[in-house]
């Protein structure tokens, strides 16, 4: 019998729709896989076995009644633990919310349930989505399925690892500076940061509100597109949600082609700090795009070299404000309330115990950048850099349809290597950050294994805002050509665990 966990989401949905398998069988197969391997991987913080099976039974009943099923009905999914789930714990990888049971569903959660996508559980992440390795989780690190001693990227390392270890065919992530794309790159999976405002942030715990964006993660470009259409679209509960039709991403994924397209290689994303094997696979992909009929040229985006600096002022500034809500008064952890201490002291004691080191660093950095006397020099200048980066993109997209680069400068690094070296850790997001600052769309998909370490390399594709469909058109073409070249999808080379 076919191993149901090796199928794509599109294949699973088709088999359920045709009656070849039931949603309960599919869910049970994935729960068994979680049971078998997640002790080693630690992708999940919480598995909702009963809830998942109940949802699966409802899908099967719906089918028996002859009701129409959605394109992902009965397909299991791993949800990043940053989205609220009614009645199911939501920790954001932090002790400060340990034990909190949200009384409401995030819009993304509601849409997944409405589409009959089976939510298997909640995935591990860097605390409050701050990090590039998932080592900042208060509940311990996640291993990269390609090599369990290495990081699965971050902050959405639980989601990427669940895909690469075949514990789920779909996952949801959030991307503030690369937290969907960088984990996808280092685990040989596909991840998309939609246009800012494309996917509702309602019920998504806020880190940096002008940068945070939820998006789809999968093992194939088509699966990511199918999930993208389920979660995207205007939401009146999010005042920054774009009130326009969702770009036709599924149609684009089904008609992948780069013939006649103009593609720009970002000149600034190369050189010192870029691993040789990453650049080798990237160059081969550039050649492949030419063979497939694209016009490829180099494009300079001179302000991108200041993107990392601007990001590490803007994101911490917004985080210092957003995380002020964790005051130990209405929900979550409360420490030291012995009847003698003031509310202010209890808040400070609780935050000191509830937040991990990276969250504390960023709160203090943001507090510093926003304090009087420093505001203009730091936050003000960072906002100017943001304008310059937007202009670089606008100029580039006058010349080309999409931009490409490596997603990350290196492959997955060993667990522990950068854990107490913040600046080294921050470099993992060098290529992904400009897109968050400008608010446009980007994808990462696998383009090979680095020869020196045998680990996955990601290709980043960047499109203008609300042109998310271009990512899928190019991504699907690259994916098909590479499968043709290799004879199989890259993910099949991942260890079986």
């Amino acid at each position: 019998m076919t191993d149901l966990t090796r199928l794509t989401a599109a294949e699973i949905a088709a088999r359920i729709a045709s009656g070849e398998v039931t949603a309960v069988e599919v869910t049970e197969a994935h729960l068994a896989r979680i049971e078998a391997v997640d002790e080693k991987v630690h992708a999940f913080l919480h598995v909702d076995r009963e809830g998942a099976l109940a949802q699966a039974r409802a899908v099967d009943a719906k089918r028996e009644r002859g009701a129409e099923l959605g394109p992902l009905a009965g397909v299991p999914l791993a949800l990043k633990d940053i989205f609220t789930t009614k009645g199911i714990p939501t920790t954001v990888g932090s002790k400060i919310l340990d034990g909190w049971i949200p009384p409401y569903d995030a819009t993304v959660t509601q849409r997944l349930r409405a589409a009959d996508v089976i939510v298997l559980g909640k995935t591990n992440m860097d605390e409050f989505a701050m990090g590039s390795s998932t080592e900042n989780s208060a509940f311990g690190p996640t291993g990269n399925p390609w090599d369990l001693t290495r990081v699965p990227g971050g902050s959405g390392g639980g989601s990427s690892a669940s895909l690469a270890s075949f514990q789920a065919p779909l996952a949801i992530g959030t991307d503030t500076g690369g937290s969907i794309r960088q984990p996808a790159a280092v685990t040989g999976t596909v991840g998309v940061k939609p246009t800012y405002g494309g996917v509702s942030r309602y019920g998504m715990v806020a880190f940096s509100s002008s940068l945070d964006q939820g998006g789809p993660c999968a093992r194939t470009v088509l699966d990511a597109a199918l999930l993208h259409e389920v979660i995207a679209g205007h939401d009146p509960m999010d005042s920054t949600s774009i009130d326009e039709p969702v770009p036709a991403v599924v149609e684009a994924a089904r008609s992948g082609s780069v013939r006649g397209m103009r593609i720009g290689v970002v000149k600034e994303f190369a050189g010192e700090g870029y691993q040789a094997g990453v650049m080798q696979r990237f160059s081969e992909t550039v050649e492949l795009l030419r063979e497939l009929g694209a016009e490829v040229e180099e494009i300079s985006c001179p302000s991108f070299d200041k993107a990392l600096a601007a990001y590490y002022l803007i994101a911490p500034s917004e985080c210092s404000s957003n995380l002020a809500r964790f005051d130990a008064m209405r929900y979550g952890l409360r420490v030291g309330d012995d009847g003698t201490k003031s509310a202010e002291d209890v808040t400070a004691l609780t935050r000191a115990e509830g937040f991990g080191a990276e969250v504390k660093r960023r709160i203090m950095l943001g507090t510093y950048a926003l304090s009087s006397g420093y505001y203009d020099a730091y936050y003000g200048s960072a906002q100017k850099v943001r304008t310059l980066i937007k202009r670089d993109f606008e100029k580039a997209f006058e010349q080309v349809d999409v931009l490409i680069s490596p997603t990350t400068p290196t492959t997955a690094f060993p667990i522990g290597e950068r854990a107490d070296d913040p600046m080294a850790m921050y470099l993992a997001d060098l290529c992904t950050i400009p897109t968050n600052l400008a608010g446009n769309a980007a994808m990462s998909l696998p383009c090979g294994l680095a020869p020196e370490d045998g680990l996955p390399v990601g290709l980043q594709i960047i499109a203008p805002a609300m042109a998310d469909d271009r990512l899928y058109k190019v991504g699907a073409a690259v994916e098909a050509a590479l499968i043709d070249k290799w004879g199989h999808p890259l993910i099949e080379e991942a260890p079986s665990l």
Binding site: Y312, M364, Y368, S371, A377
Partner: protein
Amino acid sequence: MPGITREEVAHLARLARLELKAEELDHFAGQLDDIIGAVARVSEVADQDVPPTSHPLPLTNVMRADEVRPSLTPQQALACAPAQEQQRFKVPQILGEE
């Protein structure tokens, strides 16, 4: 731009309501100094006549209809409170006792 001292970190921690231990202050002071040194390069654009961008979308005053909708019950709202009393959140003293 100036570096950051241990005393400044202690001040920031107070402003941010973080009760840090002495060894944390030492550790963070060194790290924050490194990070601030690195991010200070944004000041290269300080003198340029460029408007700031605070947000990717040019949205202002997005309102939804002012209609009565279902909301949480007091029990639901209080379900995860660290402490409660008489259907209210119970908090430590806010004003000092004289």
